[in-house]
């Protein structure tokens, strides 16, 4: 199987050459401008004749990789060619476009261990990404959008590298191992003329970390957001212990592009190769995208109230409506003998219109607490803490 050779244009990307069917060896390295090739622009030898291009991302930053997906979708002419992007991320939780992060994952636990949250542009459920989880994105024109065909690439590749491996794609576009364990989940996005279908492939992910963070941040949330459907999962490595990462990638690449292979390594960090990418990264990191895009939901829960000074206890009913991540309304029903109504009303009043975010609420609460003292202050402090803890 031969591979394309090119001359040096703009040094930015390593170009891996000369794959043979059974083993991949790096014979020569030539450096090519990635953008020129995949956009079919001013290529040195007059146009890229490859119908299928494979990109491996060198970044392990979830925001950069998601932004790279966006970039390819927007900038590559997918009417004439298809692209397969292979990527993986350092530990991160990725929720679907229309999901609610507060119900899908434990934000407090994630903050404690430094696991970031990202919202992707495609639909579907919540996934935990780490370096043992391979992501594949199949880019095609909207007309050529076919998820079954893409999943067949994966199952055929797996059967090729490990004959006898029982992998099957389901109607829900998952891939099951031994008919029972989910090793791959799917999500996709369709734009005006282009589409992409991405899926995970569990090679050697940390399953304990997964279960620790994929649980709700707080009880009492009612929403119509897309819920995740939990399934038992397994790693490929557990059932095929000799299947190394590189071998898996090679197998998939060869299955995808059975003819001449064009393989590029992409560094999404550089704006010169991918103009406009850093702007997308900033948007994906922003609170307004990650949390503000949550479909509207309501919070109804009972708060346990204590007094720092005495063993007295009480409880309060909390009802909030949250739209675009902002608290549209707050109702707090605190017993009059616990805290005077005007005080709890002031707290609620200061939260209306603010982000449903524990830090914002903490700042507002701290400012309010300055003007109180004594027993009222300690009870108000406890109430504030209880309200803040609902926000993840």
């Amino acid at each position: 199987m031969s591979v394309y050779v090119s001359s040096v244009v703009n040094a930015d990307v390593w170009f891996t050459l000369n794959y043979t069917r059974n083993c991949s060896q790096l014979r020569t390295r030539t450096v090519v401008s990635c953008t020129a090739w995949i956009c079919g622009g001013t290529a040195p030898s007059g146009g890229c004749r490859h119908k299928l291009i494979i990109l491996r991302s060198r970044s392990t930053d979830v925001y950069q990789n998601l932004a790279l997906e966006d970039w390819i979708d927007a900038n590559v002419d997918l009417q004439r060619r298809g692209v397969l992007l292979l990527w993986r991320n350092r530990p991160a939780v990725v929720i679907g476009r229309h999901q609610n992060p507060w119900t899908e994952c434990d934000l407090r636990a994630m903050r404690r261990v430094g696991i970031p949250l990202a919202r992707r542009r495609s639909g579907g459920g919540t996934v935990f990404h780490d370096l043992g989880n391979l992501n594949l994105t199949f880019f095609t024109s909207k007309k050529a959008y076919d998820r079954k065909r893409n999943l067949k690439v994966i199952t055929e590749a797996l059967r090729r590298v490990r004959p006898g491996l029982d992998v099957q794609a389901t109607d829900r576009y998952d891939i099951l191992l031994n008919g029972h364990y989910k090793i791959s989940g799917t999500a996709s996005r369709l734009s005006r003329k282009s589409s992409y279908h991405h899926c995970t492939l569990l090679h050697s992910a940390d399953r304990s970390a997964l279960s620790a963070v994929l649980r709700p941040s707080c009880p009492g949330i009612h929403s119509n957001a897309t819920p995740s459907v939990p399934s038992p999962v397994a790693n490929l490595l557990d059932h095929a212990p000799t299947l190394q990462w590189e071998e898996l990638l090679d197998g998939l690449e060869q299955q995808y592009s059975t003819g001449t292979l064009l393989l590029l390594l992409a560094s999404p960090g550089s704006d010169s190769t991918f103009p406009g990418l850093s702007r997308t990264v900033a948007e994906l990191r922003s609170w307004d995208w990650t949390f503000g895009k949550t479909p509207k939901f309501s919070v109804q829960t009972l708060l346990d109230l204590t007094d720092g000074r005495s063993p007295a206890r009480s409880s309060a009913r909390l009802h909030m409506e949250v739209k675009n991540g902002l608290m549209e309304s707050c109702e707090l029903d605190v017993p009059e003998d616990w805290l005077p109504r005007p005080l709890s009303a002031e707290l609620m009043n200061s939260l209306v219109g603010e982000r449903f975010c524990p830090h914002r609420a903490a700042a507002a609460a701290a400012a309010l607490l300055r003007t109180e003292s004594g027993e009222r202050q300690s009870r108000l402090h406890n109430l504030c803490d209880a309200v803040v803890s609902v926000m993840g």
Partner: protein, 489 residues
């Protein structure tokens, strides 16, 4: 129609489709506009005659894979909005696929057929668009991607020669401001004119001093596991929109109004002093690398905070608080010294707890933690409450004198200015060298109840400055001992 200003005058029926109380007559309303100082209802805003072109029913096109129905998840437009071809109209979801539906026509949205979370059917109308009279209704298959029609975000690289390249949105902006595109320098790819270019051109024309963008985004933190090389922080580009923006005070700012009103009611007295910090500057320079070796950034603040705590031991009245009616005064045992921080959210004052028990190094560690949380907007209630005394070094952003406000329920605040080299040059007889003294110009201790408790803020200030010397010397002794110990080992 429940538009409040018209209070029963408008008798058009409600539009049930979007569940709003917006007048369905939108644009055909013949009532006179209300006076400009009243908020005008959106639907009757466009009373100027709109060219009544044909209303096109934009049907939900085939998604592929035999999908017949989808759920509408988000609308990007509402009735009355102007749309251009290829603008996003809504986001729908079908079985793990998220689809962006874009407009096929230029025109005005006249009707939305579905609410959020409703099921939309493929092949059935999604929105009604009133196209401009005389404009062509383009069938989907015939859409030709000519450069002038390409969306701003979808910059296809295969664009062939157009004299002035600009997207319709940019052209509209130029037209609204009477700018000739040929006069604008394009900084986009292939000389394309971007929105920023128009705005820069405008700014140069008017010579306006552009106000900074009001609120920067607080960004979700990157993973703490691996160091991410952050791009150098760029100041936000000022955007001149030319319109007043009114928005209600909410959240933290609303709460601070009450605090500040309370704070300003406290009688304030001030006292100034200068302190010679040359020894501290030298000491910090020495200790900085040691601290960095232990992963701690050492500024001057830990020294000042420790010195303040030492001073408070002598003057516990300044670590007290009074209740609202000034009925009782509580002398607080812990020295929880707050540090005023100017953050994206505004003035936040996290505090270091129990400074009386901490060493300078431990204070520095805690400060690092609070500053990291402050810069990412992550300070919690425990960090922000419980302060007993505050230091403010807002002067460090460039000003020399700051006018701080005492934050209730505290009774005092210390404001520090910038460390400056004073013009006084000292001659040290013993060393026979010219020594330059480094001073801190300070406004220190605005205190309340000075006349009641006869506490001299000057005395505290002197005590504070000698505490700084004490802390400096104390630490220098420790450093010397450390050196001696390591020499003898």
């Amino acid at each position: 129609c429940r538009t409040s200003d018209l209070s029963g005058l408008c008798t058009r029926p409600l539009s049930h489709v979007t569940g709003t109380s917006r007048c369905s007559a939108a644009g055909r309303c013949t009532l006179l506009p209300v006076s400009p100082d009243q908020q005008r209802p959106e639907s009757c805003r466009d009373l100027k005659p709109v060219s009544r072109g044909p209303i096109v029913q934009f049907k939900l096109s085939d998604i592929g894979e035999g999908i017949m129905e989808v759920t509408v998840k988000e609308w990007y437009v509402k009735e009355g909005d102007k749309v251009s071809q290829f603008d996003s109209i809504c986001e729908v979801q079908s079985d793990k696929a998220s689809v962006t539906i874009t407009s096929r026509y230029d025109g005005v949205i006249r009707k939305l057929y579905y609410d959020v979370d409703a099921t939309a059917l493929v092949g059935k109308p999604l929105v009604d668009i009133e196209t401009e009279s005389g404009s062509e209704v383009i069938q989907e298959e015939d859409v030709v991607e000519t450069p002038a029609m390409a969306r701003e975000e979808h910059t296809h690289q295969e664009i062939k020669g157009h004299k002035t390249q600009a997207t319709p949105a940019v052209r509209r902006l130029a037209m609204e401001n009477n700018i000739k595109l040929s006069e604008v320098v394009g900084t986009g790819k292939d000389g394309r004119i971007l929105k920023e270019d128009i705005l820069n051109f405008l700014a140069k024309q008017t010579g306006a001093i552009l106000p900074p963008t009001p609120f920067q985004e607080i960004q979700t933190p990157g993973p703490a596991l691996a160091p991410v090389t952050k791009p150098p922080p760029t100041t936000p580009k000022p955007v001149f929109t030319g319109k007043d923006v009114t928005e209600p005070l909410k959240g933290f700012h609303k709460a601070m109004v009450k605090t500040m009103s309370a704070a300003l009611k406290i009688p304030h007295f001030g006292y100034c002093d200068e302190v010679d910090l040359s020894r501290l500057v030298a000491l910090r320079a020495e200790l900085r690398s040691v601290a960095e070796g232990r992963g701690v950034k050492l500024s001057y603040m830990p020294f000042f905070i420790k010195a303040a705590s030492l001073g408070l031991l002598h003057f516990p009245i300044l670590n007290a608080s009074v209740d609202e009616g000034c009925q009782n005064i509580t002398y607080k045992a812990s020295h929880n010294i707050g540090l005023a921080m100017d953050t994206n959210q505004g003035l936040l004052v996290p505090n270091v707890k129990n400074v009386q028990l901490l060493s300078v190094f431990e204070i520095a560690q805690e400060l690092n933690r609070l500053q990291a949380l402050g810069s990412t907007g992550q300070l919690g209630t425990s960090d922000l409450t419980g302060g007993t005394f505050t230091l403010s070094n807002i002067g460090s952003i460039g000003g020399t004198y700051a006018k701080p406000v005492i934050l209730p329920p505290e009774v005092a605040i210390g404001a520090l200015g910038k460390i400056q080299v004073s013009s006084k040059l000292f001659q040290d007889d013993q060393s026979r060298n010219m020594k330059i003294s480094v001073n801190v110009l300070m406004q220190f201790l605005r205190e309340s109840f000075r006349s009641i408790f006869s506490v001299s803020s000057g005395a505290f200030c002197r005590s504070w400055s000698s505490s700084v010397q004490l802390v400096t010397e104390g630490l220098m002794e420790e450093v010397e001992m450390f050196y001696y110990r390591s020499l003898s080992e």
